[in-house]
Symmetry: C2
Subunit: 378 residues, 2 copies
């Protein structure tokens, strides 16, 4: 199944002219269809009185050439209606805007072999560019553990947490996807050329911005909603109070995805934003990839065994027996009378308790009365 050629051309042309997350165009396309919007704007017909300014430029765009050029760069344009279209994005059409951005993307420009319709089993791991080694370590662990369970890891391509997440997923032999604010043919930051090319070769690098586009501030904001919408849940590993990762978390909430936060020292600035998310119940606290799997998995698919300390012999005792055991001195032997007094329990009950404790190997009968066995000290 595939969108009509006409729809694809209209979307490609509009994508070249309008900024990602422009609510005006996504609403019009939603209502009228891409072809009608494209034709009307090319005819310089005023749609809702807001788009006249830009309409003139549309006639200069040759969408067929755009698509051919993209193809030469290894970039395909995936649009709603294509079999490859990741249907989970459709929730964006109805979601309330955030910072005046939002809406369903016109399409996604994709480089890499991964088919986007396999992304229904995916998790976003995002966070601060100025991550600590602690944060980077946890991000890599979360990505590795979820990737090993077949989740595709989705992130940006920035320094810090994004990079650590891809590194963790790739090292675990998993699949990783970078969603860029610039064109999918471009490399930003330049230092991440190796990583981005690896993802394009093995997974996917994708963007709402057409090839050649520069990474602007607003494109980063719009990009965050794609990361949130593509995935089942977003894990924020470290995020200072002003962080794009918090914007992604807000989008995930808006789209009814799981939002998870990894805590850190309260003295660490890059953890402040995450603590705020947890404190205000936007995010659930997670401490590991296993916790994340539990949140993402369907009914009981990944139930985390809460860490429990090893059981000690005395844990299996009744309260009364514990009370008697506590009353046996640790350094010397004591008579039954003296144990009963120390325990504040009657003699008869203490006698039967001591017998039971002896059977469990916790006390020894000695000449002077009773002694703690070695086992009772564990």
């Amino acid at each position: 199944m595939s969108a009509t050629g006409e729809d694809r051309l209209a979307r490609a042309a509009l994508s070249r002219i309008f900024e990602p997350g422009d609510l005006r165009v996504s609403r019009l396309v939603d209502e009228l269809g891409p072809g009608t919007v494209y034709d009307a704007l090319r005819g310089e017909r005023d749609l809702e009185g807001v788009l006249t300014d830009v309409a003139g430029r549309l006639v200069e765009v040759d969408p067929a050439r755009e698509l051919a050029q993209a193809a030469r760069l290894g970039v395909r344009f995936v649009v709603p209606g294509d079999a490859e279209w990741p249907r989970q994005l459709d929730g964006l059409a109805g979601a309330a805007p955030l910072q005046e951005r939002g809406g369903l993307p016109l399409g996604l420009w994709v480089r890499g072999p991964l088919r986007l319709d396999t992304l229904d089993r995916s998790v976003a791991v995002v966070g601060s560019r100025s991550a600590t080694t602690y944060g980077a370590g946890v991000a890599a662990e979360v990505a590795a553990v979820t990737a090993r369970e077949g989740f595709t890891v989705v992130s940006g391509a920035a320094f810090g947490i994004d990079q650590a997440a891809h590194r963790g997923a790739v090292a675990a032999g998993g699949t990783s996807v970078a969603v860029l604010a610039c064109g999918a043919d471009r490399v930003y930051p330049a230092a991440h050329r190796g990583m981005i090319e690896h993802l394009a070769a093995e997974g996917a690098v994708l963007s709402e911005t057409p090839p050649g586009g520069a990474p602007t501030r607003l494109r980063f904001l719009s990009r965050n909603r794609i990361i949130a919408a593509l995935t089942r849940g977003t894990v924020v590993v470290e995020a200072a109070v002003r962080s794009g990762a918090l914007n992604t978390a807000n989008w995930a909430t808006r789209l009814n995805r799981s939002v998870m936060g990894v805590p850190g020292p309260v003295t660490s600035a890059p953890s402040q934003g995450v603590h705020q998310l947890i404190r205000t119940n936007v995010a659930t606290l997670v401490t590991s990839g296993a916790d994340v799997l539990e949140m993402l998995g369907g009914a009981g698919e990944h139930l985390v065994e809460e860490p429990r300390a090893a059981e000690r012999p005395r844990d299996r005792l009744s309260t009364r027996h514990q009370q008697v055991l506590d009353a046996v001195p640790s350094e010397r032997a004591a008579g039954t009378d003296s144990i009963a007094r120390a325990a504040g329990i009657g003699l008869r009950e203490v006698r039967s308790a001591l017998d039971a404790l002896e059977r469990r190997g916790l006390v020894h009968r000695v000449e002077e009365g009773w002694r703690l066995a070695a086992l009772a000290h564990t």
Copy 2:
């Protein structure tokens, strides 16, 4: 106002014989009154068939002598009915037991000038004996900030978080109270003699266990419910998976008190228990004394100002103006046409946006068009 002398003697005698948190005796006293229970047991009458064993020992106890001896040690016995009785403890009578312990205490043995009825404005700060320097630092900060606002800090007397909490409160000139598992006349651990004596001189040291009593495991468990019940809320700073502090947190939940948890690195074992409390919504995440005050304070008494990054000049711009600003190259000047193309916005709108940006000092008009001003880089 004061409990009758008879009641006090009966409670003192029963307190000498029964372990703290013994549900059988607290229920009987609740139903029949301390005098009736005491008389019945001394008369070796079987009450519910469970107390016969211990009744014989009751005749050996001389409660008047117990109280006189305690007084010589500087210890008074505060019981329900006394003006000094901390009424918030009464919630313990109806609370479900935990690990078979519970109930209203028979009374509290107290050493120190602080009147217990002033403890309605108090907070528990508890945690691991094997605290990290990070945890100890946060505990001291939380205790200092809350103590400065007139909250009495309540904790145990153990190494680690307990010690750090008292230290923080005392250093801030506040009041601090230690609830012990041993008799209030005793010092445990011995290394904390200086601290415990200081609290007894300036605040209070108290226990459900009568003077001379040893600190047993079950007494620690019973003691935790007193810490939780005395205070408006319990802050758990560091607590491994098996930690008495978690038991205190459970009691606080049971008694409808606030439970708060301070997060830490997920790689730190002493934070694991706290993360579990937060993750399962037993505790609310707090990061500072200010957060704790917000949780404890009445309606808006202490509203925390969420940390916010400093506002930058571009933050006040509309999205369209930001979009135009983003399209001005950072390294060179550009013409209005080229900026409009880069922004994907019509010429007319870009012209008026550039004028507005110039008025705000974010761009300069130069011969070749427009340049970013220094302010736009902040």
